[in-house]
Symmetry: C2
């Protein structure tokens, strides 16, 4: 079990579109944590290049997007039209699902994690035979039961507070996501699988809270985004330091994701559920904004505690959060015992 072998219970989330880099993954592993590369939105060749760039002797994971259903054109046509001439061609894709699985069977990593759905037991089986663990991102007890039935080794329990995409299996779901704390308690009551908690964790006290609620480790996103090893665009870094409120939105990709509120998000509150069609449609707009350093048209993924993030090396994040967590647990236990 990989989780048992970590010296610090900190996982760096796969952050597609730039923030995750091989350097970040290596630094987190070097400090006793564990990091994921983001396989989404990139070619098999690019992914292989990143895997090799992490370097020999470093254990790491790769996160795959499970393909979802193709949307009917009527669902997104009007939205794409409204995006104007800058918009790209909306298209469905399975993000090279089979080819990426084959790569990971041929060149296995320690953990393959899944987001946006549940892989089949056969797929988890192939990866496990190759020597990998299969972790599945879940946002509800029902998704957890499905992942357990498919043979998941670990559940990544993602709360409403989390930055970037919600892993919800049904991309059209309008149910309100569970907050991380009730989710952990509900899962703990129904499964014995190890849990990795993610969503809104911005301090060691947050880590301590998740461990107390029954998680074996926590996965952090925003907390690593200001690290020098991260590839976060400058305009995004600046927005993370501000006390901007965040919202769940389908404006950028057609799937619910949490971002700091900006103009683009506010102007497209009614964006349709069509992923990855909307992702491809907004891609040139986002690329232009990144180029121009325009935070108002970028997807400013951010968890609800984002302005607690600090500009410090990734190894410092791993160590500081673990040390703070130990102090927080120790202090809470002393308080409770003294009552």
């Amino acid at each position: 079990m990989l989780l048992e072998s970590l010296s610090r219970p900190i996982v760096a989330a796969p952050m597609g579109g730039g923030p995750t880099t091989p350097e970040l993954v290596r630094a987190v592993a070097g400090a006793g944590g564990f990091g994921f590369l983001a396989a989404g939105y990139r070619s098999v060749e690019d992914l292989r290049g990143e895997m090799r760039a992490v370097g020999d002797g470093v254990r790491f994971g790769v996160n795959l997007f499970v393909p979802g259903p193709e949307a009917r054109t009527e669902v997104y046509a009007e939205y794409v039209k409204r995006l104007g001439r800058e918009a790209g061609e909306p298209r469905w894709s399975d993000d090279s699902w089979e080819e990426k699985l084959e790569l990971l069977v041929r060149e296995p990593v320690a953990v393959v994690s899944f987001t946006f759905g549940c892989p089949g037991s056969e797929e988890i089986g192939r990866l496990r035979e190759a020597g990998s663990e299969g972790w599945v991102t879940v946002t509800s007890p029902e998704e957890a039961a499905q992942a357990e039935a498919a043979g998941a080794d670990v559940l990544i329990a993602q709360g409403y507070e989390a930055g970037a995409h919600q892993g919800t299996f049904d991309l059209e779901s309008e149910e309100e996501p569970f907050g991380l704390l009730p989710l952990l308690q509900l899962l703990r009551a129904e499964t014995k699988l190890p849990l990795v908690a993610t969503g809104g964790i911005g301090s060691g006290a947050g880590v301590a809270a998740c461990l107390a609620a029954g998680a074996s480790a926590v996965q952090l996103g925003s907390a690593f985004m200001l690290c020098p090893e991260a590839g976060t665009p400058e305009a995004h870094r600046e927005a993370l330091k501000e006390r901007r409120p965040t919202r769940l939105t389908r404006a950028f990709t057609g799937r619910r994701a949490r971002g700091a509120v900006n103009r683009f998000l506010s102007e497209h509150e009614d964006a349709p559920a069509a992923y990855p069609e909307v992702h491809y449609a907004t891609a040139p707009i986002r690329a232009g904004a990144r180029e121009a350093g325009d935070a108002e048209a970028l997807n400013l993924w951010a968890g609800q505690a984002h302005w607690l993030a600090r500009e410090e090396p990734a190894a410092t994040v791993v160590k500081r959060f673990t040390d703070e967590a130990r102090e927080a647990l120790d202090s809470a236990l002393r308080t409770l015992t003294s009552l």
Copy 2:
């Protein structure tokens, strides 16, 4: 400081409309916790009767609703019309704010808590002179700063997960509420005031998590609703045991509140922000549903972890949650130390 004198860090939330009873408050205090009476929606005479019914020698609190602005008729007129002939007369009221404050100055209780806004420093001052502490319910760092400036002794930090009304000061707010865990971390970074955590706590592990995140105690609602001492209507009790999803809705009262999804909630997703006008308009409909045992037209207030609630005496809830919390903290600390 009242919190320091508790032998168990468990607070019973004020649950208006039936669930909170003097018996529940007494049982919680008897087990080493602390309970609140709900002053909202009742006359000063009724409140005084309940306060006396708690009995001598029992420390308890009273929760007051801070009056908000009167809504323009246009805001709710169409909604009330749509409710049909069964609807009551919509009207604004300050819920006898001054008279209830005067009662609490004359017959002081240990704690007066506030919801839906921030009392003035003069009002907190009067209560404190009478010997009470003033606790203010907050849902964001900005509200916390305002409450601290007004002289609050304790902040009740309420997360998105919480059942029943969100305490948000601005009743028209469309911002997404903070999950409890990020809220606790953000508040802990900005204030030294003691925090009482509330929202989605359905087990001792949840209590442990909040203490680890820096809370001094937790406030529980749903967890007490199945107790024999609670006045929860039968149809509501049954709904709490089911795995019904919950949602934030203005359908019942014109203020955002979390309830288990039922017909009435689903049919009125677009209810206006007008409190207490909508509360009075739906009151006869809810009373009829309670009478008829019809869960589909009742306001089924419930937190996100509601189906973890058990049918057990209130004292058992207080003791079980505390014991489980100690075990959870102990286990998390051992795990972290052994890495």
